[in-house]
């Protein structure tokens, strides 16, 4: 009897296909999504994802989840936290695999591509009744030009003061009690500081970002959200001034490759005179640089518009959740006035709910330095603006940064560099 042999190639091809074919179905998620109707019974199991909050606020979030589950019997909230580093990559991997949690902590720039891909629930429709609970500016921060809808509940707001080194200011013959408030004052004082220190002390360690262009009064984007405009005369003027700073060593020599960590270290070692920060930094200065702490000065952000920059955090609901009522209810529960206030007392953030900033906690002084920073920041946040356009992606930030670097190095004129940056950002915008 002859035994029939299976050709080896056929076996190999079969094995490969058996593995690859099921995999080829992966990746794009599929539109098996849930409902936009949040009016049903609040029940079921949902997952809530935060952004690097477990290490410091575990008891707060465990309490929050328990409180919600008590309030709505039949609900089961699973809380997961992701590290700060690579958060956008984690979300994009989950979104592509169709495993995005039901309720997700996001920033406006993260929510924009998710909303465009139909993965963020339009809360304007599903939970529009809650709009009046939030500050108007905060509610609008998760709206995307070119689309209708609001794609996340506003959560906490943040703005930071600018720290400066009084000793370095004094040594340069500047009045250490009158730090710069506007960009024009900053440019003048920075040049003097560099000149007096013979180029050894820079005032700034960061190249201008999109927020700087906003605070200088540069229009960043057209109203339709279809193109960037930061290459206008005002933008060119700002970059030209920064070039003067760079040439005079008033802007640190390593600013072109600086990271927030490296600039923080330079300020700590008194190599630069000014650096943005938050109330949390004071404790760090006290511990790690007592000499600096003795000479620390605190001033509002530099702004020529009279409005500071603020960062907004949001909580979005996955449009494909199977438990829309529970997910929307939980997202609102996390961001309502009571819980935002409770969270704000644990960390230096500010609530985005109406009236919360009038709480004595944000208005009354108690003689402590931390309170002074908090009260000043709360005052500025009432008029602050989130200057970063929601459509300004990470790739666009790199384009702007590279253009700024080329202008500062003199490889391109400020005008040419910004024109190229706008051209490249517009191209990326069309491709997104």
């Amino acid at each position: 009897m002859r035994i029939s042999r299976i050709p080896r190639r056929a076996v190999a091809a079969g094995a490969v296909l058996a593995v690859l074919l099921p995999l080829s179905a992966c990746g794009d998620g599929g539109d098996d999504g849930g409902s936009t109707d949040a009016s049903g019974k609040i029940e079921g199991k949902i997952t809530f994802q935060t952004w690097n909050l477990k290490a410091n606020f575990k008891p707060y979030f465990e309490g929050l989840v328990a409180e919600f589950e008590d309030k709505y019997p039949g609900t089961d909230v699973k809380w997961v936290d992701q590290p700060g580093e690579g958060y956008a990559d984690k979300i994009s991997a989950d979104a592509a695999a169709g495993t995005l949690p039901d309720v997700v902590n996001v920033s406006p720039d993260l929510v924009a591509p998710l909303a465009k891909a139909g993965l963020a629930l339009d809360l304007g429709k599903a939970a529009g009744k809650y709009e009046k609970e939030y500050l108007p500016g905060a509610w609008k921060s998760h709206q995307i030009p070119g689309t209708e809808g609001t794609y996340a509940f506003p959560w906490y707001l943040n703005t930071g003061p600018l720290f400066y080194n009084k000793r370095l200011f004094k040594e340069a013959g500047l009045d250490e009690n009158k730090p710069p408030k506007t960009y024009d004052q900053l440019f003048g004082q920075a040049l003097q500081l560099a000149k007096k220190s013979d180029g050894k002390v820079a005032t700034l360690a960061n190249v201008p970002t999109i927020e700087d262009f906003g605070r200088y009064g540069v229009p960043l984007m057209n109203k339709e959200g279809t193109g960037f405009t930061f290459n206008d005369a005002k933008g060119v003027e700002l970059l030209t001034e920064y070039k003067k700073l760079y040439d005079a060593k008033a802007l640190d020599g390593q600013a072109l490759t600086a990271t927030p960590e490296s600039t923080g270290k330079k300020f700590l070692t008194e190599a630069v005179a000014m650096n943005p920060g938050s109330a949390l930094d004071l404790e760090k200065f006290k511990k790690e640089a007592p000499k600096l702490y003795k000479n620390i000065g605190i001033t509002p952000q530099i702004s020529s518009t009279g409005k500071d920059n603020m960062y907004v955090m949001g909580v979005m609901v996955n449009a494909r959740t199977k438990q829309t009522p529970a997910a929307v209810a939980f997202a609102h529960f996390v961001t309502d006035a009571e819980h935002q206030m409770e969270f704000a007392k644990k960390v230096a953030i500010f609530p985005s709910t109406r009236g919360s900033l009038d709480d004595p906690y944000f208005t009354e002084q108690d003689g402590k330095e931390e309170t002074r920073v908090r009260v000043a920041a709360a005052k500025s946040i009432k008029t602050a603006v989130n200057y970063t356009p929601v459509l300004f992606s990470e790739q666009m930030k790199v384009e702007l940064r590279n253009a700024v670097a080329k202008a500062l190095q003199g490889k391109e004129s400020p005008e040419e560099a910004l024109d190229n940056a706008v051209k490249n950002c517009d191209r990326l915008l069309k491709q997104s």
Partner: protein
């Protein structure tokens, strides 16, 4: 008896497929983690796929765009330069080091271990240490200032930054290739050196006429391995030049460009895949070039 015959037939029947069954776990791993990503990348390179949008076939549009993308040419220039500088250093220096520590003298084990230490150290830790040392206020600049040279912008000048990253790659790779050379040198008969010495050959002559021919195949192996690794460099440059790839992105390498272009919620997966395909083609070409050079030498 009858049962035995039946068993034999059964075993024979199973024979053609059983090797495949044994190989199946390995094949599955290769298929899932190598073959599928490769085919998928190749497929994506002809699409305009985004992270969250499936995309459509666009033919060779991504490759045509590469030709007009300044950043691609910067990446190709830097990756090629990396190969040209790092590979000769990693072929030659570990050989010299291996010859140095090959001798059996007291305490040599300490030096062998010391030279190997950077290999086992985490690249992130190594990168950060070098960033601290090369900073404007770091150890290296302090020494240079003390001897009157003045501050050098290792981390702010585009070329110094790239060459600093190359130096870290060489420093970290020395120990690894040294071990490979030590194994090769152990197989070089001592008699050859003795005979050459009797014939009046000095140390340099013996190096070129005895040592190099004896370890030539190992040098080819080191050349092939280090050229592939150098062309695909990412960590050293990323850690030292930052996520933007140095001032104005001038230190970006091709793999950094793949990472920057293809990741995140707005990542251009199709375009990044096209860059990956170019990296793959160049890497294969490099391997073939090294192997061909070896064959020519043999002929």
């Amino acid at each position: 008896m009858k049962t035995r015959t039946a068993d034999r037939i059964k075993i024979r029947r199973q024979l053609p497929t059983s090797p495949w069954l044994f190989a199946a776990p390995g094949l599955a791993i290769v298929a899932v983690f190598i073959l599928y990503p490769f085919v998928s990348t190749l497929n994506n390179s002809f699409t305009d796929k985004r992270t969250l949008i499936p995309g459509e076939y666009v033919g060779l549009a991504n490759f045509r765009e590469l030709l007009h993308d300044d950043m691609f040419w910067i990446g190709l220039r830097n990756s090629t330069l990396y190969v040209l500088v790092v590979v000769p250093a990693l072929v030659l220096l570990p050989l010299l080091l291996a010859m140095l520590v090959q001798k059996h003298i007291p305490g040599i084990t300490f030096f062998r271990s010391a030279f190997y230490t950077p290999v086992v150290a985490s690249i992130v830790v190594v990168g950060l240490i070098w960033v601290w040392m090369l900073d404007e206020r770091g150890l290296v600049n302090a020494v240079l200032e003390a001897v009157g040279v003045g501050k050098v912008g290792f981390l702010s000048d585009q070329w110094l930054l790239l060459f600093s990253a190359m130096a870290v790659t060489v420093w970290k790779g020395l120990g690894y290739y040294m071990i490979i050379y030590l194994a090769a040198l152990a197989n070089v008969p001592r008699e050859l050196h003795e005979a050459a010495a009797v014939d009046g050959a000095g140390a340099v002559r013996r190096f070129f006429s005895v040592t190099v021919p004896a370890v030539r195949s190992t040098m080819v192996l080191v050349g092939a391995l280090s050229s592939v690794a150098a062309f695909k460099v990412f960590s050293e440059v990323y850690l030292m030049a930052g996520p933007t790839g140095g001032p104005a992105g001038e230190d970006t390498t091709l793999v950094m460009l793949v990472q920057r272009t293809g990741t995140g919620l707005t990542g251009r997966v199709g375009y990044a895949s096209a860059i990956s395909v170019v990296v793959f083609v160049v890497t294969v070409a490099l391997m073939l070039l090294v192997l061909r050079a070896d064959r020519k030498e043999d002929a």
